[in-house]
Amino acid sequence: MIRPVVLLPEAVLSRPAARVGEIDDGALALAADLVDTMRAYPHCVGLAAPQIGVGVRAFSLDVTGHPKARSCHGELVLFDPEIVLAEGPVVGREGCMSVPDLTGDVARATRVVVRGMTPEGEERVLECDAFEARAVQHEIDHLDGLLFLDRVVAADRVFRRRVYR
């Protein structure tokens, strides 16, 4: 089911999300909603559960076809994801569907290893680099109640997405 994307300053975006633990029917429905909602927006490459109003540690991701992607694991949903290795920070400009008016410069690791559970209940360990690595870090930040605005490299590195309102 396609769910509305919640926007700043909705409280769910600023709170740490709860662990899933066991995959149950609710978790499976959430995985389907994340993918459905991600697919409803043509340029959306990832969505964290808090962005559809659910304070649970899960995200969907698919960087297939993105020009800056190198590693690409296709369509993914991970529960209780954690980054077990991160290296090589580089600054890039990010925006977020939940903060539609602004962008900001954020330092992210260029290579991460992330571990999480699939909807099938299997543990997966993924090595991601380039764009996929940035996207994974952005989504996991959502699960910790952090937006890119909490990570900008300096106070003056926030910009309007469009030059004029």
């Binding site: 340029h43 959306c44 490459v45 990832g46 800056k68 890039g92 400009r93 990010e94 925006g95 977020c96 569907m97 962008t103 764009f131 940035r134 996207a135 952005h138 989504e139 890119f148 003056d156 910009f159 997405r161 469009r162 030059v163 004029y164 309102r165």
Partner: protein, 178 residues
């Protein structure tokens, strides 16, 4: 509500923003877009505020008078037009310019950009390095109109190397929407 531009500049010290915004709140103003930063040891505030219609710029400037005197600030309040500028569509680029400090670098570079209808959306300059041999650093964020070849502009900027003794570089600023 009407929009007013408020500018305040003074030697840096703690409490400037709190004092100035205190007067604005008391006057019924709402801060919208603002930029506040240190410029050569002076704290500079540039604010666009939404003000009650009955509050004139002169009244607000006068209301800021005590704070300005206490903190040694130069303060000005002026009305600004309500009509938004027409949007400049195009691609975003960063431009960096470095070189030995000399008069006219900003004017020459920005005149070149203006002649190509390149719109500056952000610009800051810093004088850095050894006081004996100061280095001028200018960082711009610009919007290139869709019809303009970035390669052409890059070559024109590179051509300023001989004329001004500066290095100019351009890089595309692309945003990852996640």
């Amino acid at each position: 509500m009407a929009h007013l531009a408020v500018v305040a500049v003074g030697a840096d010290r703690p409490g400037i923003v709190a004092a100035v915004t205190g007067v604005l709140v008391e006057s019924g103003c709402n801060l919208e877009d603002t930029s506040m930063t240190l410029l050569g040891g002076h704290f500079a505030m540039m604010l666009v505020v939404a003000a009650p219609l009955e509050l004139t710029p002169e009244q607000l400037e006068e209301a800021l008078g005590d704070v300005a005197a206490d903190l040694g600030l130069v303060v000005a309040v002026r009305p600004i037009g309500e009509e938004a500028a027409a949007g400049f569509e195009g691609t975003r680029w960063g431009v960096s310019v470095y070189g030995a400090d000399r008069p006219g670098i900003v004017h020459r570079v920005t005149s070149l950009l203006a002649s190509r209808s390149v719109n500056i959306v952000d610009l800051s300059t810093r004088v850095i390095g050894d006081p004996e041999r100061p280095v001028y650093a200018m960082l711009l964020e610009v919007v290139l109109p869709d019809g303009l070849d970035p390669g052409l502009l890059e070559r024109e900027l590179a051509g300023l190397r001989d004329e001004l003794g500066v290095e100019c570089h351009m890089h595309r600023v692309d945003t990852d929407i996640l």
